[in-house]
Symmetry: C2
Subunit: 257 residues, 2 copies
Amino acid sequence: MKEKLTVIKVGGKIVEEPDTLNQLLDDFSSLSGYKVLVHGGGRSATRIASQLGIESQMVNGRRITDAETLKVVTMVYGGLVNKNIVAGLQAKGVNAVGLTGADMNVIRSVKRPVKDIDYGYVGDVEKVDGKALADLIHRQIVPVMAPLTHDGNGNLLNTNADTIAGETAKALAEYFDVTLVYCFEKKGVLRDENDDDSVIPVLTPDLFKQYVEEGIVQGGMIPKLENSFSALDAGVSQVVITLASAIHKDSGTIIRK
Amino acid sequence: MKEKLTVIKVGGKIVEEPDTLNQLLDDFSSLSGYKVLVHGGGRSATRIASQLGIESQMVNGRRITDAETLKVVTMVYGGLVNKNIVAGLQAKGVNAVGLTGADMNVIRSVKRPVKDIDYGYVGDVEKVDGKALADLIHRQIVPVMAPLTHDGNGNLLNTNADTIAGETAKALAEYFDVTLVYCFEKKGVLRDENDDDSVIPVLTPDLFKQYVEEGIVQGGMIPKLENSFSALDAGVSQVVITLASAIHKDSGTIIRK
């Protein structure tokens, strides 16, 4: 039987505020078993870009990444946010290593082809080296992954953190019994978006289909859940959508086949 | 007999210009045997700090690192410079991993005590985990080290890249036959500072003493060479001071016991 591993994805909001970051580091370090942390950092990137006189352009929630913006996200995601998390985890006894996709060639991507929109230096994940990550993890090292990949030709590429978490979870499913946890600003997938306690405890493909038809699940949650089911299809055992403050609890929405 | 390993230290000037960086990546990737790259990045840090409205204060060539400056060097050294080197080396077939001292807890330091000058968030190296680095290196992974360490309490600390290179070389001397190469803006230690070709080919402790007495070696070169002899005392096989463009050649000044 494979050993358990948890991949936790946290957004920028959590890791950019000292209080919520500290809480996250406590909760993450108290998680038992093998684990991986994937983080965002968009708010800091927007703030530092603005201080440097670079305007942040977003399309459908994705950052248009020109050459100057790529420098900013490389600094913020790969440096400021990532290294502070790593130092914070070390202080709590977690032997973390901060990685972009370029480090040890763990995530190769291709620059997104220009169709309607030119996203610039944005990467679509091509290959995650699950073996390289599993080797580290088996040596009790905890990868902390920044949302940056590389194309193998010397170029870093800005890459969505949800995607990194999903693709990493899939690649590690060959070596571990993987739970993928998406930290969310709500307690889980809600039945009623105005009622924070209306969490749907379990979603299966059939229930998902039913809730979409009934209009209970809609909008941006649909692609998020579709990605979750695609992770399950690729061997991930379960996906959980929950609050960052609840990663060590049995709560949120559990997505299972 | 121990296997050979080369620790190369390059300053900011080399890694911050695309042309010299590219040459360095070519030269470094063509070096045979185990290797480690340690880089600076001070010029970029000064430039980005200035763009962010933070004034860079230097005392004896060392940066006074207040909380805001620490964020800048974390971004620039740990993110921008380090990750671009890593991506560049991957493109040349070198399986690089970018590390600060916090990553895998490879370099612990203590915040420099305030005497005459408060350097702020600057770390004096306490311990390099040679075993953790040697484990990576034996797995054909090439550490690329940024001049940042951590104190084990969650704080990153700005740390001189020459010191990181020297302490790393010492720690690795237990596992490898280590050559430490300091890249320099001159061809080596010069007999006559106005004659770029007056390189002293070999320095031993006796010759060093003689040259200091004769005034041939003076100024900032004295502590650099003292550090080199201290590395030799700690088990490093030889130290070389040479041009970045000459790291794959037998040139420069070789410092031996």
